[in-house]
Symmetry: C2
Subunit: 341 residues, 2 copies
């Protein structure tokens, strides 16, 4: 194990390994989140004799600070930061590889520009499939059984008995059937639900593995679902794809869950549908995050709202960090791992 | 359809069918709960030409009222009422059959005495297996993902991000493997958990069906579980069966769930273990219900508490009611259905 030093400044620490080995290239993590600091640090020994590491443990929101922290970097791990084109131009003078610690890298780094610069960009894949799928089911359960709400009442001194709803035997409609949709379908099978999948192509084997049916009609999945959950990525084809007409097809008493992206839904359409009062909603994503204090969703009684945490588990964090380390390691070994451009 | 009349007095209604058919025996429901009124009423047409029905829609807590409402009854459906021996003596002069709308009838009606009187006693079976199993999983999810808690925070204006825990890949220990335990194991299989069952006998086929392992050692199941859940009935053998020594074996970070009966646990042992602060608990059952306002469980931060609602779903209520009706119908047809004595 090589020399490791840690400097603490105003609640921010800089953690370095091999700081004297100037023969090695420098990998910088210019911004971090508290829960990732220790998992990242545990990976550092993988870089002995590969690169020096310098990690800043606080969260940066400013291009200047980001750029100055990266000034000697040969490679960078980007956590929760949107790299502007201007910043990218400055980094490209010396940075040869950036690993984005999440999915949807195209929304955070200009891929075409990076490619022009010959800079390798990596992302992270499927790290949160289980995490998001389980939070989806957690939202269904809070809507169906109110455990968190009843706990609050009981702690407030109210022994309030509320009738629940069973998920067993109900029809679950999934819009999207990628890694997360498939994980939700597997859980739903154990719950004894009937799963109806809307997706562009019929993935027969994957459907059969979880006992699910398939439809190419978005109308149909909204019409037949007791519980409807969105599991699509956001792109130009999916933005606003769920319209007021689709939501109108949800039957009275249906549960609507969104742990994907708020922008999948036509603006204003969800609030309009929920205001009718007969559909319950579990939402982890919002048009603005943190949610605006005047967001009408906050006044809807039948909505359970969580602050974009579906992806955020101990296990997902460990997975993200391991993939980041693997992508950096592969770059220096001259191999390819999660390479986007 | 025969004459049906309804008298409303001070928020209480009396619903009668075939009230003029004095040639038919009278079945009385002297006490009810709000959620069962409509489901019961829908069953009444099954008794046309079988018996007259008289249902009181309010909830009775008093022997005198109960007895006076049953004074002409030939059969009785008992909902949520403990029949004292003294009351039983009075009913036995004319009541020939009582159907208890729940499980654990032995705690509510003296079976030996009923048998001596030649009174048929019926109960309800497995009506709540899915309901209780799903609430068990709902409690696990509230402990793991805090959806209800985060919803409360968000509505209070706090966008508080809390790290979650995935259930996938974790070991679930089940103490008891009857209808409810098996239903939990099936859900856990969908969640990708490893299930370890403690039960007296190894039910090989049922274990295999849900991919579970078995142990005859209670110590072992407590030692190896990331999530431990109780699914035993309460009787002289199981009362106090879970001791402080067992609870001490739970590892730091483990989740403990009880939707069965508080009395399964040695008195005071759970509070003692939870006070160590490293185990999370989801509890639906308490030594006294409603919970005492000075119950130390209310001051434990890592406990999610719900007011004995695990059994209480729309679907379970319909099932209870259907079984009650079937038991009464069988009695008058000279058949046996859910007969206890």
């Amino acid at each position: 194990m090589m020399l490791r030093r840690r400097i603490t400044l105003m609640g921010m620490s800089v953690i370095e390994t091999a700081s004297t080995r100037e023969d090695l290239p420098l990998m910088v993590i210019p911004s971090c989140v508290p829960s990732m600091v220790e998992p990242l640090r545990k990976e550092f020994r993988k870089f002995d004799d590969v690169c020096r590491v310098r990690m800043y443990t606080d969260t940066v929101h400013d291009d200047e600070v980001f750029a100055s922290r990266c000034k000697d970097a040969d490679s960078v791990i980007v956590i929760g930061f949107r790299v502007s084109d201007d910043l990218l131009d400055r980094l490209a003078t010396h940075v040869r590889c950036m690993v984005f610690g999440g999915t949807g890298v195209a929304n955070y780094i200009n891929l075409a520009k990076s490619q022009d610069y010959g800079m390798r960009i990596c992302n992270i894949e499927h790290y949160g499939d289980n995490a998001v799928a389980e939070h989806t089911v957690a939202l269904m359960f809070e809507l169906a059984r109110h455990a968190g709400h009843l706990d609050q009442e009981l702690h407030d001194g109210n022994w309030v008995v509320m009738e629940g709803l069973e998920l067993s035997g109900k029809t679950l409609g999934l819009v999207g059937f990628g890694g997360i949709g498939k994980a939700v379908a597997r859980i739903a099978q154990g719950l004894g639900m009937h799963t109806l999948v809307y997706s562009r192509h019929e993935d027969h084997d994957a459907l059969q593995a979880v006992g699910a049916s398939w439809t190419s009609s978005l109308d149909e999945v909204f019409e037949h679902s007791d519980v409807l959950s969105l599991h699509l990525g956001l792109n130009e084809h999916t933005q606003g794809m769920i319209t007021g007409e689709h939501l109108a097809k949800l039957h009275s008493g249906a549960l609507f869950v969104n742990t994907a992206r708020a922008e999948l839904i036509e603006e204003g359409a969800l609030v309009k549908r929920l205001n009718e009062g007969d559909v319950l909603a579990g939402l982890d994503v919002f048009d603005e995050e943190p949610i605006r204090t005047d967001d009408p969703l906050l006044s809807i009684p039948n909505a359970v709202l969580t602050p974009h945490v579906a992806w955020f588990t101990q296990e997902a964090v460990v997975n993200v960090v391991a993939q980041c380390a693997e992508a950096i390691g592969a770059f220096y070994r001259g191999e390819r791992y999660n390479v986007v451009v």
